[in-house]
Protein backbone atom coordinates (compact mmCIF):
# COMPACT_ATOMS: atom_id res chain seq x y z
CA UNK A 1 0.00 0.00 0.00
CA UNK A 2 1.18 3.55 -0.72
CA UNK A 3 2.54 5.55 2.20
CA UNK A 4 -0.13 7.41 4.20
CA UNK A 5 0.70 10.86 2.85
CA UNK A 6 0.33 10.07 -0.86
CA UNK A 7 -2.69 8.02 0.12
CA UNK A 8 -4.33 11.00 1.78
CA UNK A 9 -3.33 13.29 -1.09
CA UNK A 10 -4.97 10.94 -3.57
CA UNK A 11 -8.11 10.72 -1.46
CA UNK A 12 -8.48 14.48 -1.06
CA UNK A 13 -7.64 15.44 -4.64
CA UNK A 14 -10.05 12.87 -5.97
CA UNK A 15 -12.76 13.86 -3.51
CA UNK A 16 -12.28 17.54 -4.35
CA UNK A 17 -12.52 16.97 -8.10
CA UNK A 18 -15.53 14.67 -7.81
CA UNK A 19 -17.19 17.13 -5.45
CA UNK A 20 -16.58 20.04 -7.82
CA UNK A 21 -17.90 18.05 -10.79
CA UNK A 22 -21.05 16.99 -8.94
CA UNK A 23 -21.69 20.57 -7.82
CA UNK A 24 -21.08 21.92 -11.31
CA UNK A 25 -23.39 19.51 -13.11
CA UNK A 26 -26.09 19.89 -10.48
CA UNK A 27 -25.97 23.65 -9.97
CA UNK A 28 -24.84 25.24 -13.23
CA UNK A 29 -27.77 24.34 -15.51
CA UNK A 30 -30.55 25.59 -13.14
CA UNK A 31 -28.57 28.64 -11.97
CA UNK A 32 -27.13 30.19 -15.13
CA UNK A 33 -30.25 29.78 -17.28
CA UNK A 34 -28.20 29.97 -20.47
CA UNK A 35 -29.01 27.95 -23.57
CA UNK A 36 -26.15 25.62 -24.37
CA UNK A 37 -27.64 25.09 -27.84
CA UNK A 38 -27.68 28.85 -28.69
CA UNK A 39 -25.96 29.30 -32.04
CA UNK A 40 -24.20 32.59 -32.94
CA UNK A 41 -22.32 32.28 -36.21
CA UNK A 42 -20.72 35.72 -35.79
CA UNK A 43 -18.82 34.33 -32.79
CA UNK A 44 -17.70 31.01 -34.22
CA UNK A 45 -14.39 29.46 -33.18
CA UNK A 46 -13.32 32.20 -30.80
CA UNK A 47 -10.23 31.26 -28.72
CA UNK A 48 -10.53 31.19 -24.90
CA UNK A 49 -11.21 34.65 -23.46
CA UNK A 50 -12.83 36.14 -20.35
CA UNK A 51 -16.20 36.06 -22.01
CA UNK A 52 -15.82 32.45 -23.18
CA UNK A 53 -13.23 30.79 -20.89
CA UNK A 54 -13.14 27.65 -23.06
CA UNK A 55 -13.73 29.48 -26.35
CA UNK A 56 -16.57 28.76 -28.77
CA UNK A 57 -17.20 25.95 -31.26
CA UNK A 58 -17.68 26.05 -35.03
CA UNK A 59 -21.22 27.43 -34.75
CA UNK A 60 -20.44 29.88 -31.96
CA UNK A 61 -21.76 27.93 -28.96
CA UNK A 62 -20.04 28.52 -25.60
CA UNK A 63 -17.78 25.53 -24.92
CA UNK A 64 -17.65 25.83 -21.13
CA UNK A 65 -21.42 25.56 -20.97
CA UNK A 66 -21.45 22.69 -23.45
CA UNK A 67 -18.73 20.87 -21.51
CA UNK A 68 -20.72 21.11 -18.26
CA UNK A 69 -23.88 19.89 -20.01
CA UNK A 70 -21.87 17.15 -21.72
CA UNK A 71 -20.40 16.02 -18.42
CA UNK A 72 -23.89 15.98 -16.94
CA UNK A 73 -25.13 13.59 -19.62
CA UNK A 74 -21.99 11.46 -19.46
CA UNK A 75 -22.17 11.23 -15.68
CA UNK A 76 -25.85 10.33 -15.80
CA UNK A 77 -25.19 7.60 -18.36
CA UNK A 78 -22.19 6.37 -16.35
CA UNK A 79 -24.01 6.22 -13.01
CA UNK A 80 -27.24 4.64 -14.25
CA UNK A 81 -25.44 2.15 -16.50
CA UNK A 82 -23.04 1.16 -13.70
CA UNK A 83 -25.97 0.70 -11.33
CA UNK A 84 -27.92 -1.45 -13.78
CA UNK A 85 -24.84 -3.48 -14.69
CA UNK A 86 -23.95 -4.05 -11.03
CA UNK A 87 -27.44 -5.16 -10.05
CA UNK A 88 -27.59 -7.51 -13.03
CA UNK A 89 -24.06 -8.84 -12.44
CA UNK A 90 -24.64 -9.34 -8.71
CA UNK A 91 -27.90 -11.18 -9.32
CA UNK A 92 -26.39 -13.51 -11.93
CA UNK A 93 -23.15 -14.05 -9.97
CA UNK A 94 -24.96 -14.72 -6.69
CA UNK A 95 -27.40 -17.12 -8.34
CA UNK A 96 -24.58 -19.01 -10.07
CA UNK A 97 -22.45 -19.19 -6.94
CA UNK A 98 -25.20 -20.01 -4.47
CA UNK A 99 -27.17 -22.53 -6.55
CA UNK A 100 -24.22 -24.24 -8.25
CA UNK A 101 -24.62 -27.25 -10.53
CA UNK A 102 -26.42 -26.75 -13.82
CA UNK A 103 -27.58 -23.22 -12.99
CA UNK A 104 -23.98 -22.22 -12.40
CA UNK A 105 -22.74 -23.83 -15.61
CA UNK A 106 -25.51 -22.36 -17.76
CA UNK A 107 -25.16 -18.84 -16.35
CA UNK A 108 -21.39 -18.79 -16.59
CA UNK A 109 -21.45 -20.06 -20.19
CA UNK A 110 -23.83 -17.18 -20.89
CA UNK A 111 -21.26 -14.80 -19.37
CA UNK A 112 -18.55 -16.39 -21.55
CA UNK A 113 -20.73 -16.00 -24.62
CA UNK A 114 -21.27 -12.31 -23.90
CA UNK A 115 -17.59 -11.67 -23.21
CA UNK A 116 -16.49 -13.47 -26.38
CA UNK A 117 -18.04 -10.65 -28.45
CA UNK A 118 -15.95 -7.44 -28.45
CA UNK A 119 -17.62 -4.95 -26.11
CA UNK A 120 -17.86 -2.12 -28.58
CA UNK A 121 -19.39 -4.37 -31.23
CA UNK A 122 -22.02 -5.64 -28.80
CA UNK A 123 -22.62 -2.08 -27.65
CA UNK A 124 -23.12 -0.89 -31.21
CA UNK A 125 -25.51 -3.78 -31.85
CA UNK A 126 -27.70 -2.77 -28.90
CA UNK A 127 -27.67 0.92 -29.90
CA UNK A 128 -28.55 0.02 -33.47
CA UNK A 129 -31.77 -1.65 -32.31
CA UNK A 130 -33.26 1.62 -31.03
CA UNK A 131 -33.65 5.27 -31.97
CA UNK A 132 -30.73 7.42 -30.75
CA UNK A 133 -31.17 8.66 -27.20
CA UNK A 134 -29.95 8.33 -23.62
CA UNK A 135 -31.68 5.04 -22.76
CA UNK A 136 -30.31 2.95 -25.63
CA UNK A 137 -26.83 4.15 -24.70
CA UNK A 138 -27.38 3.21 -21.06
CA UNK A 139 -28.70 -0.20 -22.13
CA UNK A 140 -25.73 -0.68 -24.43
CA UNK A 141 -23.23 0.10 -21.66
CA UNK A 142 -25.09 -2.01 -19.07
CA UNK A 143 -25.31 -5.05 -21.35
CA UNK A 144 -21.57 -5.02 -21.95
CA UNK A 145 -20.44 -4.28 -18.38
CA UNK A 146 -22.21 -6.70 -16.04
CA UNK A 147 -19.92 -9.62 -16.90
CA UNK A 148 -16.96 -8.83 -14.66
CA UNK A 149 -19.25 -8.13 -11.68
CA UNK A 150 -20.96 -11.47 -12.23
CA UNK A 151 -17.58 -13.22 -12.16
CA UNK A 152 -16.37 -11.34 -9.05
CA UNK A 153 -19.59 -11.96 -7.12
CA UNK A 154 -19.72 -15.63 -8.13
CA UNK A 155 -16.17 -16.31 -6.94
CA UNK A 156 -16.82 -14.48 -3.66
CA UNK A 157 -19.98 -16.48 -3.09
CA UNK A 158 -18.19 -19.75 -3.94
CA UNK A 159 -15.46 -19.06 -1.40
CA UNK A 160 -17.98 -18.00 1.24
CA UNK A 161 -20.27 -20.96 0.67
CA UNK A 162 -17.92 -23.48 2.25
CA UNK A 163 -17.07 -21.23 5.19
CA UNK A 164 -18.14 -22.72 8.54
CA UNK A 165 -20.39 -19.77 9.35
CA UNK A 166 -22.55 -20.64 6.36
CA UNK A 167 -22.53 -24.28 7.43
CA UNK A 168 -23.52 -23.20 10.92
CA UNK A 169 -26.44 -21.27 9.45
CA UNK A 170 -27.56 -24.33 7.45
CA UNK A 171 -27.27 -26.48 10.53
CA UNK A 172 -29.31 -23.89 12.42
CA UNK A 173 -32.19 -24.44 9.99
CA UNK A 174 -31.71 -21.42 7.73
CA UNK A 175 -33.40 -21.67 4.32
CA UNK A 176 -31.51 -21.12 1.08
CA UNK A 177 -33.08 -17.72 0.80
CA UNK A 178 -32.08 -16.68 4.28
CA UNK A 179 -28.49 -17.83 3.75
CA UNK A 180 -28.37 -15.87 0.49
CA UNK A 181 -29.94 -12.65 1.78
CA UNK A 182 -28.57 -12.59 5.32
CA UNK A 183 -25.14 -14.12 5.02
CA UNK A 184 -23.94 -14.20 1.40
CA UNK A 185 -25.20 -10.93 -0.11
CA UNK A 186 -24.12 -8.62 2.73
CA UNK A 187 -20.65 -10.13 2.48
CA UNK A 188 -20.31 -9.52 -1.28
CA UNK A 189 -21.91 -6.07 -1.30
CA UNK A 190 -18.69 -4.14 -0.56
CA UNK A 191 -17.02 -5.92 -3.50
CA UNK A 192 -19.99 -5.29 -5.76
CA UNK A 193 -20.15 -1.65 -4.69
CA UNK A 194 -16.48 -1.20 -5.47
CA UNK A 195 -16.97 -2.80 -8.86
CA UNK A 196 -19.86 -0.38 -9.48
CA UNK A 197 -17.78 2.72 -8.67
CA UNK A 198 -14.89 1.48 -10.81
CA UNK A 199 -17.39 0.92 -13.59
CA UNK A 200 -18.65 4.52 -13.69
CA UNK A 201 -15.53 5.95 -15.43
CA UNK A 202 -15.50 2.96 -17.74
CA UNK A 203 -19.14 3.51 -18.66
CA UNK A 204 -18.48 7.21 -19.29
CA UNK A 205 -15.72 6.32 -21.72
CA UNK A 206 -17.95 3.80 -23.41
CA UNK A 207 -20.66 6.44 -23.90
CA UNK A 208 -18.09 8.88 -25.30
CA UNK A 209 -16.76 6.25 -27.66
CA UNK A 210 -20.26 5.51 -28.97
CA UNK A 211 -21.03 9.23 -29.37
CA UNK A 212 -17.68 9.83 -31.02
CA UNK A 213 -18.53 7.16 -33.57
CA UNK A 214 -21.83 8.95 -34.15
CA UNK A 215 -23.82 6.04 -32.68
CA UNK A 216 -24.57 7.42 -29.25
CA UNK A 217 -26.56 10.49 -28.42
CA UNK A 218 -28.08 12.68 -31.16
CA UNK A 219 -25.30 14.95 -32.43
CA UNK A 220 -26.91 18.25 -31.41
CA UNK A 221 -27.01 17.11 -27.78
CA UNK A 222 -23.95 18.13 -25.76
CA UNK A 223 -22.13 15.00 -24.67
CA UNK A 224 -18.39 14.74 -24.24
CA UNK A 225 -18.09 12.25 -27.09
CA UNK A 226 -20.17 14.46 -29.41
CA UNK A 227 -18.07 17.51 -28.50
CA UNK A 228 -14.80 15.77 -29.34
CA UNK A 229 -16.33 14.38 -32.53
CA UNK A 230 -17.55 17.75 -33.83
CA UNK A 231 -14.23 19.38 -32.92
CA UNK A 232 -12.19 17.01 -35.08
CA UNK A 233 -12.38 19.14 -38.23
CA UNK A 234 -11.38 22.38 -36.49
CA UNK A 235 -8.41 20.64 -34.85
CA UNK A 236 -6.85 20.16 -38.30
CA UNK A 237 -7.25 23.92 -38.88
CA UNK A 238 -5.20 24.62 -35.74
CA UNK A 239 -8.05 25.39 -33.35
CA UNK A 240 -7.10 23.35 -30.30
CA UNK A 241 -9.64 24.43 -27.69
CA UNK A 242 -12.75 22.59 -28.94
CA UNK A 243 -10.89 19.27 -28.53
CA UNK A 244 -8.78 19.99 -25.46
CA UNK A 245 -11.46 21.07 -23.00
CA UNK A 246 -14.00 18.28 -23.62
CA UNK A 247 -11.05 15.86 -23.52
CA UNK A 248 -9.96 17.21 -20.13
CA UNK A 249 -13.54 17.06 -18.90
CA UNK A 250 -13.57 13.39 -19.78
CA UNK A 251 -10.15 12.51 -18.37
CA UNK A 252 -9.97 14.44 -15.08
CA UNK A 253 -13.32 13.41 -13.54
CA UNK A 254 -12.91 9.78 -14.59
CA UNK A 255 -9.40 9.71 -13.08
CA UNK A 256 -10.77 11.25 -9.88
CA UNK A 257 -13.56 8.65 -9.70
CA UNK A 258 -11.06 5.87 -10.25
CA UNK A 259 -8.86 7.42 -7.54
CA UNK A 260 -11.72 7.37 -5.03
CA UNK A 261 -12.49 3.77 -5.92
CA UNK A 262 -8.81 2.94 -5.44
CA UNK A 263 -8.83 4.36 -1.90
CA UNK A 264 -11.93 2.32 -1.17
CA UNK A 265 -10.31 -0.83 -2.55
CA UNK A 266 -7.25 -0.35 -0.33
CA UNK A 267 -9.53 -0.13 2.68
CA UNK A 268 -11.22 -3.38 1.71
CA UNK A 269 -8.26 -5.58 2.51
CA UNK A 270 -9.30 -8.33 4.90
CA UNK A 271 -7.79 -6.94 8.09
CA UNK A 272 -9.21 -3.46 7.61
CA UNK A 273 -12.47 -5.05 6.59
CA UNK A 274 -13.10 -6.56 9.99
CA UNK A 275 -12.19 -3.25 11.65
CA UNK A 276 -14.57 -1.30 9.47
CA UNK A 277 -17.31 -3.91 9.80
CA UNK A 278 -17.91 -3.98 6.11
Amino acid sequence: MADPRTHRLRLWTSALVVGAVVLAVLLVPPLVQLDEQAVDLSRKLLPPSWEHPFGTDDVGRDLLLRCVYGLRISLLVGLVAALVATVLGTAVGAAAGALGGWTDRTLMRLVDAFSSVPHLLLGIFVVALFRPGVWPVIASVAVTHWLSTARIVRSEVLSLRTRPHIEAAISGGASRRRVATRHLLPAVLPQAGLAAVLMVPHAMWHESALSFLGLGLPSHQASLGNLVQSARSSLLAGDWWPTLFPGLFLIVPTLALAGLAGVWRDRLNPRRRSELML
Binding site: A168, I170, S171, G172, G173, R178
Partner: protein, 225 residues
Protein backbone atom coordinates in the same frame (compact mmCIF):
# COMPACT_ATOMS: atom_id res chain seq x y z
CA UNK B 1 -29.38 -43.44 18.01
CA UNK B 2 -26.96 -41.73 15.66
CA UNK B 3 -25.63 -44.36 13.33
CA UNK B 4 -23.04 -43.92 10.61
CA UNK B 5 -22.69 -47.11 8.58
CA UNK B 6 -19.95 -47.78 5.98
CA UNK B 7 -19.69 -44.12 5.05
CA UNK B 8 -17.44 -43.17 2.13
CA UNK B 9 -16.93 -39.46 1.67
CA UNK B 10 -14.62 -36.95 0.03
CA UNK B 11 -14.51 -33.72 -1.87
CA UNK B 12 -13.67 -34.89 -5.38
CA UNK B 13 -15.45 -37.49 -7.46
CA UNK B 14 -13.90 -40.95 -7.13
CA UNK B 15 -11.23 -39.72 -4.69
CA UNK B 16 -12.76 -40.24 -1.27
CA UNK B 17 -10.94 -39.08 1.85
CA UNK B 18 -11.96 -42.34 3.54
CA UNK B 19 -13.96 -45.48 2.71
CA UNK B 20 -16.44 -47.43 4.78
CA UNK B 21 -16.24 -45.63 8.14
CA UNK B 22 -18.77 -46.74 10.77
CA UNK B 23 -19.60 -45.22 14.13
CA UNK B 24 -22.57 -45.38 16.48
CA UNK B 25 -23.60 -43.03 19.28
CA UNK B 26 -26.36 -44.19 21.64
CA UNK B 27 -28.90 -41.68 23.00
CA UNK B 28 -27.36 -39.73 25.88
CA UNK B 29 -23.95 -41.22 25.21
CA UNK B 30 -20.77 -39.19 24.77
CA UNK B 31 -18.39 -40.64 22.19
CA UNK B 32 -14.93 -39.24 21.55
CA UNK B 33 -13.37 -39.81 18.13
CA UNK B 34 -9.57 -39.70 18.13
CA UNK B 35 -7.38 -39.50 15.10
CA UNK B 36 -4.42 -37.79 13.50
CA UNK B 37 -5.03 -34.60 11.53
CA UNK B 38 -6.04 -35.01 7.90
CA UNK B 39 -7.48 -38.50 8.38
CA UNK B 40 -11.05 -37.44 7.61
CA UNK B 41 -12.62 -37.35 11.05
CA UNK B 42 -13.87 -33.80 10.52
CA UNK B 43 -15.45 -34.89 7.24
CA UNK B 44 -17.21 -37.71 9.10
CA UNK B 45 -18.40 -35.16 11.65
CA UNK B 46 -19.81 -33.01 8.84
CA UNK B 47 -21.62 -36.05 7.42
CA UNK B 48 -23.09 -36.69 10.88
CA UNK B 49 -24.25 -33.05 11.01
CA UNK B 50 -25.94 -33.39 7.58
CA UNK B 51 -23.54 -30.84 6.12
CA UNK B 52 -21.73 -33.10 3.68
CA UNK B 53 -23.33 -35.67 1.42
CA UNK B 54 -21.37 -38.93 1.55
CA UNK B 55 -20.55 -40.81 -1.66
CA UNK B 56 -21.79 -44.04 -0.11
CA UNK B 57 -23.04 -45.37 3.21
CA UNK B 58 -25.92 -44.57 5.52
CA UNK B 59 -26.70 -42.11 8.27
CA UNK B 60 -29.59 -43.04 10.56
CA UNK B 61 -30.79 -40.44 13.06
CA UNK B 62 -33.22 -41.68 15.72
CA UNK B 63 -34.52 -44.33 13.37
CA UNK B 64 -34.91 -42.03 10.34
CA UNK B 65 -32.56 -42.73 7.48
CA UNK B 66 -31.11 -39.48 6.13
CA UNK B 67 -31.47 -39.24 2.36
CA UNK B 68 -30.83 -35.53 1.78
CA UNK B 69 -28.11 -33.23 2.99
CA UNK B 70 -27.56 -29.51 3.61
CA UNK B 71 -30.52 -27.41 2.42
CA UNK B 72 -32.31 -30.42 0.99
CA UNK B 73 -32.51 -32.10 4.38
CA UNK B 74 -35.79 -31.49 6.24
CA UNK B 75 -35.34 -28.65 8.71
CA UNK B 76 -36.39 -30.77 11.70
CA UNK B 77 -33.65 -33.28 10.91
CA UNK B 78 -30.99 -30.63 10.29
CA UNK B 79 -31.67 -28.82 13.52
CA UNK B 80 -31.68 -32.06 15.53
CA UNK B 81 -27.88 -31.95 15.34
CA UNK B 82 -26.02 -28.97 16.78
CA UNK B 83 -22.49 -28.33 15.51
CA UNK B 84 -19.52 -26.53 17.02
CA UNK B 85 -16.56 -25.99 14.70
CA UNK B 86 -12.87 -25.79 15.42
CA UNK B 87 -12.27 -22.15 14.49
CA UNK B 88 -14.77 -19.71 15.97
CA UNK B 89 -13.41 -16.90 13.75
CA UNK B 90 -14.57 -18.51 10.54
CA UNK B 91 -17.66 -20.03 12.12
CA UNK B 92 -19.13 -16.65 13.11
CA UNK B 93 -20.65 -14.14 10.72
CA UNK B 94 -18.52 -11.01 11.34
CA UNK B 95 -21.54 -8.72 10.93
CA UNK B 96 -23.59 -10.07 13.83
CA UNK B 97 -23.25 -9.19 17.50
CA UNK B 98 -22.79 -12.18 19.80
CA UNK B 99 -26.43 -11.88 20.90
CA UNK B 100 -27.61 -11.97 17.27
CA UNK B 101 -25.22 -14.83 16.57
CA UNK B 102 -26.77 -16.94 19.34
CA UNK B 103 -30.32 -15.97 18.31
CA UNK B 104 -29.73 -16.58 14.58
CA UNK B 105 -31.02 -20.21 14.49
CA UNK B 106 -34.21 -19.17 16.33
CA UNK B 107 -34.79 -16.33 13.86
CA UNK B 108 -34.00 -18.59 10.91
CA UNK B 109 -36.62 -21.09 12.05
CA UNK B 110 -39.29 -18.46 12.61
CA UNK B 111 -39.11 -18.40 16.41
CA UNK B 112 -38.02 -14.80 16.75
CA UNK B 113 -40.24 -14.26 19.80
CA UNK B 114 -38.30 -16.72 21.94
CA UNK B 115 -34.92 -15.32 20.90
CA UNK B 116 -34.37 -12.75 23.68
CA UNK B 117 -35.34 -15.18 26.47
CA UNK B 118 -33.24 -18.00 25.04
CA UNK B 119 -30.17 -15.75 24.70
CA UNK B 120 -30.60 -14.53 28.29
CA UNK B 121 -30.77 -18.15 29.39
CA UNK B 122 -27.82 -19.43 27.35
CA UNK B 123 -25.34 -16.58 27.91
CA UNK B 124 -24.69 -17.28 31.60
CA UNK B 125 -24.64 -21.02 30.89
CA UNK B 126 -21.65 -20.59 28.57
CA UNK B 127 -20.13 -17.78 30.64
CA UNK B 128 -20.86 -14.67 28.55
CA UNK B 129 -21.65 -11.36 30.26
CA UNK B 130 -24.41 -9.05 28.92
CA UNK B 131 -21.73 -6.54 27.89
CA UNK B 132 -19.96 -9.14 25.70
CA UNK B 133 -23.25 -9.96 23.98
CA UNK B 134 -23.37 -6.48 22.43
CA UNK B 135 -19.93 -6.85 20.81
CA UNK B 136 -19.11 -8.16 17.36
CA UNK B 137 -16.73 -11.07 16.73
CA UNK B 138 -13.72 -8.86 15.95
CA UNK B 139 -13.95 -7.30 19.40
CA UNK B 140 -13.86 -10.52 21.45
CA UNK B 141 -11.26 -13.24 22.00
CA UNK B 142 -11.34 -16.68 20.37
CA UNK B 143 -12.45 -18.23 23.66
CA UNK B 144 -15.34 -15.80 24.08
CA UNK B 145 -16.38 -16.29 20.48
CA UNK B 146 -16.30 -20.07 20.86
CA UNK B 147 -18.57 -19.74 23.89
CA UNK B 148 -21.03 -17.85 21.69
CA UNK B 149 -20.74 -20.52 18.97
CA UNK B 150 -21.53 -23.22 21.54
CA UNK B 151 -24.54 -21.21 22.73
CA UNK B 152 -25.69 -20.92 19.10
CA UNK B 153 -25.41 -24.70 18.64
CA UNK B 154 -27.52 -25.21 21.79
CA UNK B 155 -30.13 -22.56 21.02
CA UNK B 156 -32.53 -24.94 19.23
CA UNK B 157 -32.07 -27.64 21.94
CA UNK B 158 -30.64 -30.29 19.59
CA UNK B 159 -30.88 -33.97 20.53
CA UNK B 160 -27.35 -34.49 19.22
CA UNK B 161 -24.24 -32.40 19.49
CA UNK B 162 -21.22 -32.66 17.18
CA UNK B 163 -18.11 -30.89 18.47
CA UNK B 164 -15.38 -30.84 15.85
CA UNK B 165 -12.13 -30.03 17.69
CA UNK B 166 -14.16 -27.54 19.69
CA UNK B 167 -11.35 -26.73 22.14
CA UNK B 168 -8.26 -27.14 19.96
CA UNK B 169 -7.66 -23.38 19.79
CA UNK B 170 -8.36 -22.61 23.44
CA UNK B 171 -6.57 -22.45 26.80
CA UNK B 172 -7.17 -24.91 29.63
CA UNK B 173 -9.65 -22.84 31.64
CA UNK B 174 -11.84 -22.00 28.64
CA UNK B 175 -11.70 -25.65 27.57
CA UNK B 176 -12.89 -26.70 31.03
CA UNK B 177 -15.69 -24.11 31.00
CA UNK B 178 -16.93 -25.17 27.55
CA UNK B 179 -16.83 -28.87 28.40
CA UNK B 180 -18.72 -28.15 31.63
CA UNK B 181 -21.35 -26.18 29.65
CA UNK B 182 -21.81 -29.09 27.24
CA UNK B 183 -22.10 -31.58 30.10
CA UNK B 184 -24.66 -29.44 31.95
CA UNK B 185 -26.75 -29.25 28.78
CA UNK B 186 -26.51 -33.02 28.28
CA UNK B 187 -27.56 -33.70 31.88
CA UNK B 188 -30.61 -31.47 31.43
CA UNK B 189 -31.70 -32.81 28.05
CA UNK B 190 -30.10 -36.24 27.65
CA UNK B 191 -28.54 -35.25 24.35
CA UNK B 192 -25.93 -37.46 22.71
CA UNK B 193 -22.45 -36.16 21.89
CA UNK B 194 -19.88 -36.85 19.21
CA UNK B 195 -16.64 -35.09 20.15
CA UNK B 196 -13.92 -35.15 17.51
CA UNK B 197 -10.37 -34.33 18.51
CA UNK B 198 -6.79 -35.38 18.91
CA UNK B 199 -6.41 -34.62 22.62
CA UNK B 200 -6.55 -38.13 24.09
CA UNK B 201 -6.43 -37.01 27.74
CA UNK B 202 -9.31 -34.57 27.29
CA UNK B 203 -11.54 -36.94 25.34
CA UNK B 204 -10.89 -39.82 27.78
CA UNK B 205 -12.00 -37.66 30.70
CA UNK B 206 -14.89 -36.02 28.88
CA UNK B 207 -16.53 -38.91 27.05
CA UNK B 208 -18.15 -42.20 28.06
CA UNK B 209 -16.00 -43.98 25.50
CA UNK B 210 -13.40 -43.00 22.94
CA UNK B 211 -12.95 -44.56 19.54
CA UNK B 212 -9.77 -44.59 17.50
CA UNK B 213 -10.22 -43.46 13.91
CA UNK B 214 -8.62 -46.66 12.56
CA UNK B 215 -11.22 -48.75 14.44
CA UNK B 216 -13.99 -46.96 12.53
CA UNK B 217 -12.58 -48.13 9.21
CA UNK B 218 -13.01 -51.66 7.84
CA UNK B 219 -10.11 -54.08 8.36
CA UNK B 220 -7.43 -53.79 5.69
CA UNK B 221 -8.30 -55.84 2.63
CA UNK B 222 -5.80 -57.87 0.62
CA UNK B 223 -3.10 -55.68 -0.99
CA UNK B 224 -3.80 -54.33 -4.45
CA UNK B 225 -7.47 -53.75 -3.83
Amino acid sequence: MLELASVTAGYEPRRPVFRGASLTVAPGEAVGLLGPSGCGKSTLARVAALLHRPDAGRLVLDGTEVTAWRHRAPRALRTAVGVVFQQPRTAADPRLTLADLIAEPLRATGRKGEAADRVAELAPAVGLTPELLTRRPHAVSDGQLQRACLARALSLRPRWLVCDEMTAMLDASTTAALVAAVETYREQTGAGLLAVGHDRVLLNRWCDRTVEWRDCLPAEGPPGR
